[in-house]
Amino acid sequence: MATQVLTNPVNLTISPRLAKNIRRNIKERVIELILMLAALSAVATTFAIVGVLLYESLTFFKAVSLVDFFTDTQWTPLFEDAHFGIMPLVSGTLTTSAVALAVAIPIGTIGAIYLSEFATHKVRETVKPILELLVGVPTVVFGYFALFFVTPMLQKIFPELPSFNMLGPGIVMGIMIIPYISSVAEDAMRAVPMSMREGSYAMGATRFQTAIRVVTPAAISGIIAAYILGISRAVGETMVVAIAAGQQPNLTFNPMESAATITAYIVQVALGDLPHGSIGYQSIFAAGLVLMVMTLIFNILGHWVRKKYRQKY
């Protein structure tokens, strides 16, 4: 068959136009291949990370039982009397994240509503770059801001607050996350068609009623996406809590106490010089795995909620 085509006299005299087509075709194939490789590399990296996490955790869990891991109330892998209960790190992560979200979700949402529905063009074009600037500030800076500025201020209100606590860094983390939430939520609100707003105004609604009763519910799936992003950022944030929350694992949900988060533990240990293959070294991967599973759970939950509320216009 192939030889037949090749020996076909018609194919021997390819017209210039056809040749151009073939060349274009090859070019497109090459581009496609490059794009696919780029996409694959991201997927491959993800799989590699998961693979390493699982592999190293497996050795960890050979030494530490899952029951101990989830029920022991102490996390002291580097002590003589080592305990491997992850819960103190989980509680620290959840508490700082909860404080951060308690700050970021209301302010981010209100900011998004303001920017999308109330601000004039000029205000919006001024405020948005400033918010984006906030995203560019290195998190170390936020960490010391929490430690040397926010916590001392909070201590004026709560004199018994220790210098290392979860409240201060939680609040600062919240401030850090506001731009993420407000910009994604604002995009979702601005995508609501104007005809829907007009319908509301035509019924005699005010701007505020239109924003709250029509635009927000219409954009709810995008707003929830913004929250998911915020949660992922909060759970995964490292520097701020490592610097300002203290690094003592502490099984508590009280933001007034000091504690360590999963991420803070990971940097703390990773910065030290633990021998490869030691149980302390492997504990990093077990902790990382828990962090990944937590993020995954929040994401799945978020997608489920989003799907439930997804609106079509």
Partner: protein, 259 residues
């Protein structure tokens, strides 16, 4: 038919409308709206029908830089609704609107119709229930939705959504209802339903409807206005406009020679 006794509901007096940027889309337009009558606005695309219609509920206020000149006076109280001192929200409470494309809110069928009452801070549940039912009946959609009032409005068909939007506009007892090509997105059966509905509604309120469909204008309206390039070319009762228009342009447009 025009009779001396037909009361006026509203009238445009030397109305001009200038879009932000300077485009004068309505030019020196004067026209009456008779009470409990249907007035049809016809004219080629871009002649300013929607622009004129949207002056009646001050829709242009939503976008900065737009400018009205002249008056739209509402009777019997003689209010110039374009007066900057008049709150556009007050105007929209008296004059409601149905859009070209159905635009239900992301809410249940019930809440869509209740919307106008809720934004007026009406809280009495029994009253709202009553009004919602009355409006849905008035919009001839009650039988289709009475068992699914809590369903999302998006799940209705296009024609049903449009009738829902009419119900929504009806629920607050407006004096005038504006329709901007309300059937252009609908099939012939849904269109016939809406036309019938408009005729019924005109027993209780005044209607101004923009349409591209000559038959529709001839079928439903009592008066017809022909616009061209922002100007009112001819206005009269529908029968005479369609049988013996006085202006050549009107005749050309109606008979399809132009537009």
């Amino acid at each position: 038919m025009v009779t001396a006794t037909t009361p006026l509901k509203a009238e445009a007096r030397n109305l001009n409308f200038i879009y932000n940027g300077g485009n004068r889309a309505v030019k020196n337009l004067s026209m009456p709206l008779y009470e409990n009558k249907i007035t049809a606005l016809i004219g080629p695309s871009g002649c300013g029908k929607s622009t004129f219609l949207r002056c009646f509920n001050r829709m242009h206020d939503l976008y900065p830089g737009n400018k009205y000149e002249g008056q739209i006076v509402m009777h019997p109280d003689n209010t110039n609704i374009l007066d900057p001192a008049v709150d556009p929200i007050e105007v929209r409470m008296r004059i409601s609107m149905v859009f070209q494309k159905p635009n239900p809110f992301p809410k249940s069928i019930y809440e869509n119709v209740a919307y106008g009452l809720r934004v007026r801070d009406i809280k009495n549940k029994r009253l709202i229930d009553e009004k919602v039912e009355e409006a849905l009946k008035g919009a001839a959609i009650w039988n289709e939705v009475k068992d699914r009032l809590q369903d999302l409005a998006f799940n209705l068909s296009g024609g049903q959504q449009q009738r829902l939007c009419i119900a929504r506009a009806l629920a607050t007892d407006p004096e005038i209802m504006l329709f901007d090509e309300p059937t252009s997105a609908l099939d012939p059966i849904a269109t016939a339903n809406i036309e019938e509905l408009m005729s019924e509604l005109s027993n209780k309120l005044t209607i101004l409807v923009v349409t591209h469909n000559m038959q529709q204008a001839a079928r439903v309206s009592d008066y017809t206005a022909y616009m061209y390039l922002g100007e009112l070319i001819e206005y009269g009762d529908t029968d005479s406009i369609f049988t013996h228009p006085t202006r050549k342009e009107t005749e050309d447009y109606i008979t399809g020679k132009f537009g």
